[in-house]
Amino acid sequence: MATTAQQKIKKQLTLMLIIVMGMFAFCFALVPLYNVICKVTGLNGKPTAMVAAVSEHEIDLSRTVTVELITTLNHSLSSSVSEFVPRNVKIKLHPGEYVKTSYWVKNLSAQKMIVQAIPSVTPGFAAQHIRKTECFCFQHQPLAALEGKEMPLVFTVDPALPKNINTVTLAYTLFDVTQS
């Protein structure tokens, strides 16, 4: 009698500890899960960091989409250290039409630095419809002391972009990744 009661409790304890361990693991599983869900649904406005293949699809001349380009410096780069501005702040294009623009970045400090631009698209659902064939955001950008450079961006907006979206904002935040 005593042993069966003890065995029962041991079994329950094991089960509960498995739940605890499982939920701890689940917490870490939330990280890739979140990324996958956001990628599939486009919920958080994170575009893919991959080169899109140039495709010769039709240009939708029936409508025009305005793409606004904005830049932000992460707190790790104060504005006295670097300059980061788009050459065009507003581009009007027909969906499917490729556009080339560039961003000017300058290291104002006396140290070498490596920067990385992270894109974000508003509204979030438009993120999967921004197709970039060339982007400075695909790689780390090393900058020598006081070096400035033009960084190119070639992109289009997929004609599959929902009809109700007329304006898309493409924001880049520049991070200092010299340490890592």
Binding site: K8, I9, M23, F26, L30, T41, L43, V177
Partner: protein, 539 residues
């Protein structure tokens, strides 16, 4: 794993010694495995933490008494709000409920003790160390100029406030959260094991007192979400020291992910702090209405469905983070759905009172105040659940008013009701009804003076977590502060009443009240050191 041994040994040796009394001396409290000793320690610990975090709240209200900088600078103000929140949640409300579970669950289900007494001892004794570590950062921030700040990012420790910008003391905070988490998980495992294994013969799950039901569900919530909190603080630790980028966009992470992880823990957590309160109220109400609880089974289903829904509503804390419209709609409707089972509970409480012969002893007064004021807090929660309205209310004093109505007049009032209801059973003495009623009316009036005007402050646009405010908010803030000071002071009266009752007073009968239901009232007042050495028979 002393269950079986203590359970069975006590049966056969019950005649050898009449009562296994407690050991003598201070070490009794260190080594004790007795559920009543541990419950007492939990309750005292939580009361000390309540007074400490309450003192921090008094400082906050003193600072906000007038516009402009009064007592503390903005950095210190942030530390006050952070520690007030953390200590009230993890140090006052949660341990108080665990203490009540320790005292009451074995007596209610007819068991001699908790199922895992040694684990019980450990889960309590982790807590003082965890909180010493957390509070040491605050002491250091005050006495030393070089120690830096105590945690100052709010109890929600959003990244990057706690990662990139967190003061060095954040690491103390992280490890103290780890320890509190371990303590809560062990406590919850113990409650589940006790309820599932040690019920007296004949007590089926659906005959169990509703307090035990509410704690069973709470315990499952605890073992499900405390590990998620542990994971969240671990990720913060890794981002701070080991070069990971869970929450750093520069390295491919996402700061919004932190909020998802945190609130996946955080929303069930707020139900962890209210479920036992539902149980307490459902125990007390039948005694003073002299009617059985209306809709016992529906209460059980309501508790269970609230627990389930609590897992799918977390993002209503994040409506303004730039979520997609469909997600906002989903979380809005899911949140509103919780009003249904909660409404069932409130309806059942009202129906229990309907045509009952009510009497208004202090536990009943606190219970009635709970039902009324908690429902109000629930309604302001519904207002916050409406997405477009939330854009307006978010981060204002309206939110502060809402969660203080559900936590202070909800959770804390239920704890006060429970203490008054069972204190005569625990100590064998009646408390002074005159003093207790004074305590109730002081608390009830002042708590509304304290929190009700906050609704209007919030609607008028006063932001949370700011040590200063625009001049037009001055009058209401003064009223709120006065209410705060009176509410704080009246809890000292509560301390006095409890100590007075422990030291002496009119002898309490075994039943204490007129005709209370439940096994704990079949024991003597105070109950024997080991509750039921032979299991009672439940009809």
């Amino acid at each position: 794993m002393d269950v079986a041994t203590s359970y069975h040994a006590s049966g056969s040796h019950a005649d050898d010694h009449h009562d296994h009394g407690p050991a003598k001396g201070l070490l009794r409290w260190v080594f004790t495995t007795n559920h009543k000793d541990i419950g007492t320690m939990y309750l005292w610990f939580s009361f000390i933490m309540f007074l400490f975090a309450g003192t921090l709240a008094m400082l906050i209200r003193a600072e906000l008494f007038k516009p402009g900088e009064q007592l503390v600078n903005p950095e210190m103000f942030n530390q006050l709000t952070t520690l007030h929140g953390l200590i009230m949640v993890f140090g006052a409300v949660m341990p108080a409920f665990v203490g009540l579970a320790n005292w009451l669950v074995p007596m209610m289900i007819g068991a001699p003790d908790m199922a895992l007494p040694r684990l019980n001892n450990w889960s309590f004794w982790i807590l003082p160390f965890a909180f010493t570590m957390l509070i040491s950062t605050f002491v250091a921030a005050i006495v030393s100029d070089t120690a830096g700040s105590a945690p100052n990012f709010g109890w929600t420790f959003y990244a990057p406030l706690s990662t990139t910008f967190g003061p060095p003391s954040t690491d103390f905070f992280i490890f103290s959260i780890h320890m509190m988490g371990i303590s809560s998980i062990l406590g919850a495992i113990n409650v589940i094991a006790t309820i599932l294994n040690l019920r007296a013969p004949g007590m089926t799950l659906m005959k169990m007192p509703i307090f035990c039901w509410s704690w069973l569900v709470t315990a499952f919530l605890l073992i499900a979400v405390m590990p998620v909190l542990a994971g969240a603080v671990t990720m913060v630790l890794f981002d701070r020291h080991f070069g990971t980028s869970f929450f750093n966009a520069g390295g491919g992470g996402d700061p919004v992910l932190f909020q998802h992880v945190f609130w996946f823990f955080g929303h069930p957590e707020v139900y962890i702090m209210i479920m036992p309160a539902f149980g307490i109220v459902s125990q007390i109400l039948p005694t003073f209405t002299r009617k059985p609880l209306f809709g016992y089974a529906s209460m059980v289903y309501a508790i269970s469905s609230i627990a389930f829904l609590s897992f799918i509503v977390w993002a209503h804390h994040m409506f303004t983070t730039g979520m997609a419209l469909v997600a906002e709609l989903f979380f809005m409707y899911a949140t509103m759905l919780i009003a249904v089972p909660t409404g069932v509970k409130v309806f059942n409480w009202v129906a229990t009172m309907f045509k009952g012969s009510l009497s208004f002893e202090t536990p009943m007064l606190f219970t009635l105040a709970f039902i009324f004021l908690f429902t109000m807090g629930g309604f302001s929660g519904l207002m916050l659940a409406i997405v477009p309205a939330d854009y307006q209310y978010q981060d204002t004093y309206f939110v502060v008013a809402h969660f203080h109505y559900v936590l202070v007049t909800g959770a804390i009032f239920s704890i006060l009701a429970a203490v008054y209801y069972w204190l005569p059973k625990w100590t064998g003495h009646m408390y002074s009804e005159v003093l207790a009623k004074t305590h109730f009316w002081l608390s009830f009036i002042s708590v509304n003076v304290l929190f009700f005007p906050m609704h209007f402050l919030g609607l008028a646009g006063m932001p949370r977590r700011i040590p200063d405010y625009a001049l037009q908010f001055a009058d209401f803030n003064r009223i709120v502060s006065v209410g705060g000071f009176v509410f704080g002071a009246s809890q000292i009266l509560f301390l006095f009443i409890v100590i007075k009752t422990i030291r002496g007073g009119k002898k309490a009968t075994d039943k204490v009240w007129e005709n209370p239901q439940g096994l704990e009232w079949t024991l003597s007042s105070p109950p024997p050191y080991h509750s039921f050495t032979t299991p009672p028979v439940v009809p």
